[in-house]
């Protein structure tokens, strides 16, 4: 690794004092370690000691310590630590530690991604394999907007850590069904020990999804103390069948809960800090928020049970109505309680010999990731490079029945995107029912086509639903991107007022 060169940008709303104290603190901490540093200040007098493109290019790590916008988008692709200005003043040393660690992760990711990367270059991948580029999500601004962006960033942090588990586990689970639906059941004639192993590996990977989501939402909010409690509560939520939404709830509960707890305990003598980290936080935090999770997971899981009964009652209903219900449910929370209620009902009905219901559920679950993949393919201009990469992966995720692949796209603007996904899922599900497609496998996506009834019709139903949804989603994103570009132009011609 070449010589370290850290760059930083500091800024506070008044731009008189904290901006410069943060700059001084960061400079002193870096110089004390003999690390080269350049700090740009966004004060009331304007930008001083400005970072040049050459500085940014050469930097091995970036610190943003600001409570206002310091144009952090310049640093995209760089190992970056983004904190409030107060953190830099009070803990400059830890901040240097963090940026060095980020730089090291970035260097490792870059070297392992070298060669594998195409024209996009290694810069994006340098962000420690962060598929969704969470670090570049800005949390500047003020008031409610700032709070919402922070919440979005925490959520995306969780999703970004969760997705590899979904993919690894989901694909292996799906592959195991190639040996037959009951290949993991020692009682069955289809039993195959390798398929059973795949099934177990895949199941465990997929099962870690909710705890990991919860843990890394909490980690994003309150770092290590949050991670511990978030993982524990996420595991409880999963064991109690609360699904993806349960993981989100426990993640934020643990993250903000631990933040509150550390505030409460901040008056403790600092001599007890070690005890706090290793004993008090994990014990007290797990106890308090574990209990809360136990209390709230019963009603959350009860809701899922209620939906299951409700759906079973519909199995003989008009295919259009049933397909619509299944499509809306599966696309609503993509792997959450509503989606899983539909899925579990499908599996339960399989044992009654109803294979068309399962095929309709699978169609509705496969459609959302395919919708995003098709939208990224047909309308590349509407999506950012990182999104496009995630979008192309969704061809695989969709084909293997991993609805969760669509989550990052939906999380960005759920009120518009989820209805679009619902439309596509409903079409796929309705057509699958109308054309009498059947699937005897509870999972596996297109891998189970060889054992499906009317496989071509089933595939066609899903394709049509995904195409309609993909067109809608792509058009929406292209329009949104165009509008954003216009806005950016308008503000660029306006001189930016200093705080």
């Amino acid at each position: 690794m070449s010589e370290q060169f850290i760059i930083a940008a500091t800024g506070c709303p008044t731009g008189v004092a904290h901006t410069f104290m943060a700059a001084e603190a960061i400079s002193q901490a870096a110089e004390a370690r003999g690390i080269e540093i350049k700090v740009e200040t966004h004060g009331q007098v304007g930008v001083e000691n400005a970072l040049t493109p050459a500085d940014i290019e050469r930097a091995t790590g970036v610190i943003v310590a600001a409570d206002k916008d310091v144009q952090a988008e310049r640093f995209q692709g760089k190992p970056l630590v983004d904190v409030g200005v107060a953190v830099a003043i009070h803990e400059p040393d830890q901040l240097i530690d963090r940026v060095l660690a980020a730089a090291e992760r970035g260097a490792r990711a870059a070297s392992s991604a070298e060669g594998a990367q195409g024209e996009d270059g290694g810069a994006d991948a340098a962000l420690d394999h962060d598929l969704l580029d969470v670090d570049s999500i800005e949390t500047g601004g003020s008031g409610a907007r700032r709070a919402l962006r922070a919440i979005y960033k925490h959520l995306m942090n969780g999703v970004s850590y969760m997705l590899p588990f979904v993919v690894g586990g989901g694909v292996l689970l799906a592959v195991s069904f190639l040996w037959g639906i009951y290949s993991a059941d020692p009682e069955s004639s289809e039993y195959n020990s390798f398929a059973a192993a795949l099934n177990e590996i895949g199941g465990v990977g997929l099962g870690l999804m909710v705890p990991i989501l919860s843990a890394f939402i909490a980690e994003s909010v309150s770092k290590r103390p949050g991670l511990v409690v978030g993982l524990v509560t996420g595991m409880i939520a999963m064991n109690n069948g609360t699904g993806f939404l349960g993981g989100i709830v426990t993640g934020f509960l643990s993250g903000y809960g631990m933040l509150g707890l550390s505030k409460l305990l901040s008056r403790m003598p600092s001599a007890l800090n070690g005890l706090k980290a290793i004993f008090i936080f994990p014990v007290l935090g797990s106890l308090v928020f574990g209990l809360v999770t136990v209390l709230i997971s019963a009603p959350m899981a009860g809701f899922s049970g209620f939906l299951e009964d409700f759906l079973t009652g519909f199995q003989g209903a008009n295919p259009v109505i049933l397909g619509l219900i299944l499509g809306v449910m599966c696309a609503f929370d993509m792997g959450g309680p509503l989606n899983k209620a539909a899925y579990v009902t499908g599996v339960a009905l399989l044992s009654d010999g109803n294979i068309t219901f399962m095929a309709a559920v699978s169609a509705a679950c496969i459609a959302p990731p395919l919708i995003t993949a098709i939208a990224c393919t047909l309308f590349p201009r509407g999506f950012e490079p990182a999104e496009r990469r995630a979008g192309y992966v969704n061809y695989i995720l969709g084909s293997t029945h991993i609805t969760e692949g669509a989550i990052p796209f939906a999380a960005r603007n759920p009120l518009v995107v989820i209805p679009i996904l619902m439309v596509g899922s409903s079409i796929a599900s309705i057509l699958s029912l109308l054309w009498g497609a059947g699937s005897p496998a509870p999972h596996g996506g297109f891998l189970v086509l060889p054992i499906a009834t009317h496989p071509f019709l089933w595939f066609g139903a899903i394709l049509i639903g995904a195409l309609v949804g993909g067109l809608l989603f792509g058009l929406y994103r292209t329009r949104a991107a165009r509008r954003q570009a216009l806005r950016a132009e308008a503000t660029a011609s306006d001189p930016v007022p200093s705080a």
Binding site: V16, A17, T19, M21, E24, T41, G46, H90
Partner: protein, 147 residues
């Protein structure tokens, strides 16, 4: 007129809480002819504190305000007889106040104020502020303002 003289320092201020401390800041400012509207400037400083505390480490705070009634830029150092509770859990013994005229267009004074802020990151200076005499404080802080 220099923005920081030995007369800009007042030790043993009998303030009991943050408001009284800021009141003393504004009164000293009025005495020095830096500002006119004492209640207005106090309110401005309180507003700023509400956004986020200006207290740093070692009991030093840097209350500041930009206000129409401030005639010229000034740096004031006040040390209370006993530390006051600044915000919950934070006690402050020394305030290095930065006063900025509302109509100020130039940037020289802003640079001086940012120099104060940078200077306060020095532990030795904070120790002088907490324990030194008026002359020592004037010399230590003044040297960094002129730098």
């Amino acid at each position: 007129m220099s923005i920081f003289t030995q007369q800009s320092i007042r030790l043993g201020v009998p303030a009991r809480d943050q408001r009284q401390f800021l009141q003393a800041v504004a009164e000293l400012g009025a005495e020095q002819g830096i500002l006119e509207d004492v209640p207005g400037v106090v309110a401005a400083m309180l507003d700023r504190e509400k956004q986020s505390t200006t207290a740093l480490m070692d009991g030093v705070a840097i209350p500041h305000a930009k206000h129409e009634a401030i005639r010229r830029p000034g740096v004031l150092v006040l040390r209370s007889a006993a530390p006051v509770e600044w915000t919950a859990g934070e006690s402050v013994g020394v305030g290095v106040a930065l006063l900025v005229p509302g109509a100020e267009a130039g940037t020289t004074h802003l640079q001086i104020l940012s120099r104060v802020a940078r200077a306060l990151m020095n532990k030795g200076l904070r120790e002088t502020l907490n324990g030194g005499t008026e002359a020592e404080i004037h010399e230590a802080l003044g040297a960094r303002l002129d730098a």
